[in-house]
């Protein structure tokens, strides 16, 4: 840890005089594509380049596996990415992340609870129940117990392969109160999943996939990332997004361990968290800003689709990233076996 920090600082000192000459002023950012990239380009990348002269290039395919490969090979396809809390914990456990360089990152500018040893919180997304209103009356399904209730609400379902979310839903459906979810009881979660398994036609893995499944009526209800639910509703599809018992996934900036461009990375992350930047990115990217001051730049209508909206947060289920991260490997292995049964 100490060693890595010292090395990063040393690098900063060494690199400073050469910047602009030898060191190309480029930062490679791992992009999720789609609205994420469009919003990031408009509100973060282009203004950052205009301000600092550092060019930003994107590389697609966000996965922690690439971080592992990069730390292993020292070949860096990208320097920074935005990932969820379980990935931050996994990345820290596997020693794949650069520690925050407080020489470059101004921690006073953002709320203290967003700053971690190796990650800085930027935005959040919700994973909500979303159902087809031509199949069920509006307002009829409000909890995960309803979602699991195949007698009252017969029909096909889809749940995500993102287990950190699906396990929480399974426990809520089984009657675990939302403040008693941890430590995670995997046996109970899988027993609960056993009950819904026959109704789950697809275990989706990407946002566009579940959007298409619900939009085309392939399934009648599903767990949906709120951005995709919102997009679906805006396109006129008969779907309702339930802002109750939704999970709140906070997303963090992380820097790939050992990258020679860590200096630019922290400078960029600082920039991205400025309230106006954070707000602009979240409005166009369909996220909820984590910097509360960002809401000064958000209209009430825009806030309707934001999970960090104070109106919704009392009904959100927050993650305990560390305790969820602890069971993720075991849960993933078990899930693959369980699917085959």
């Amino acid at each position: 840890m100490l060693h890595a920090t010292r090395r990063a600082t040393l690098f900063g000192l060494l690199a400073a005089p050469t910047i602009g000459r030898a060191q190309p002023r480029v930062l490679y950012i791992n992009s999720q594509g789609g609205p994420w990239e469009a919003a990031a380009k408009k509100h973060l990348f282009d203004p950052f380049t205009a301000k600092t002269g550092v060019e930003i290039k994107t590389a697609p395919g966000v996965t922690l596996a690439k971080f592992a490969v990069q730390a292993r090979t020292k070949v860096y396809e990208f320097d920074i990415a935005t990932v969820g809390a379980p990935s931050v914990v996994q990345g820290m456990n596997e020693n794949l992340l650069e520690p925050v360089d407080f020489g470059l990152f101004n921690r006073a500018a953002v709320p203290a609870e967003l700053v971690f040893e190796n990650a800085v919180g930027n935005h959040a997304y919700g994973t909500n129940i979303c159902f087809n209103t031509t199949k069920y009356p509006a307002g009829s399904i409000t909890t995960w117990q309803d979602f699991w209730d195949v007698q009252r609400f017969p029909g096909s379902r889809s749940l995500g392969r993102t287990l950190s979310q699906t396990i929480v839903f399974a426990l809520l459906a089984d009657g675990v109160p939302k403040d008693k979810l941890y430590p995670i009881d995997l046996d109970r979660a899988f027993r609960s999943l056993d009950r819904i398994k026959p109704q789950v036609r697809v275990w989706w893995s990407t946002g566009p996939q579940i959007r298409q499944l619900l939009g085309d009526g392939e399934v009648d209800m599903g767990s949906v990332w709120h951005a995709h639910g919102t997009a679906l509703r805006n396109s006129g599809a008969p779907v309702e997004i339930v802002w109750n018992e939704f999970t709140m996934d906070r997303t963090y900036w992380i820097v790939s361990r050992g990258t020679p461009r860590a200096g630019f990375a922290w400078e960029f992350i600082n920039f991205a968290l400025e309230p106006e930047r954070n707000a602009g990115f979240c409005i166009d990217g369909f996220y909820g800003p984590l910097n509360p001051r960002a809401f000064d730049f958000v209209t009430p209508e825009q806030a309707e689709a934001m999970p960090t909206n104070a109106k919704y947060t009392p009904y959100a289920v927050e993650f305990d990233g560390r305790r969820m991260g602890d069971v993720m490997t075991q849960a993933s292995r078990r899930f693959e076996r369980w699917l085959q049964q």
Partner: protein
Amino acid sequence: MRRGVPTWLLLLPAVAYLLLVFGVPLGNTFWMSISEPTLGLQNFASILTDPLYARVYLRTVLVAATVTLLCLGLGYPLAHYMARRSGVVAALLLGACGLCFWISYLVRTYAWTVILGNRGPVTALARWLGVEPPPVLLFTTTASLIAMTHILLPYMVLTLYVVLARIDANLIRAAHGMGASHWQSFSRVVLPLSLPAVVSGCLLVFIFCVGFYVTPTLLGSPRDMMISSLIANEIETLLDFGSASALAMVLLAAVLVLLTVYDRLVGIDRILR
């Protein structure tokens, strides 16, 4: 024979290239399979003892075999027909097969989600015929078999066509002249002459199919996990490079065994002819 440059030297650039872009990563994968997380054969041991791996391998082989048979059953008559027709009809059919090659398999996979989906023509037809509720095709094993067969069919057809088209028509005429029926001329003359192509085509389709990833994931049922999905999962969600590498090595070994059998049966040099 004496020449200025030894012939093997001509191979050198290609061999060096292959070693660099194929041999080195392969060696690296092999090394990871026996060194991650610690040196030893534990990754291979877990593949042999864990019923999940055995089940997924078995399913992969069964799916690949089914697709191969479907391709052969559909492809042989088509290739035979094309080979016996000359001119426009054959050219059109050949073009249609070629067209399939040029359209990305990803696009074709997505096309099947539309065709087999809730709002697709198959469902509409079933409804029109009064089948209510219409059969559920999307996200079933059937869907993934249909799509994989469609994607791999051109490989089978073109492999068969090349050999069938070169069978001397005089041989068939001679067979008929000797009093053979259509069936006899086919079973005694055409079929034996085309057998090497049948084996090549099957091998090609089978090996491609064993490595399929996207199509079964997007179209198949949740239980239809193929070995590539399992490998991807080991890396993407579990960061377990060791067991993923070992799984890939076992898959490679299985394909090599197949190629050896092929070599014994037909001779590997036949592929080049």
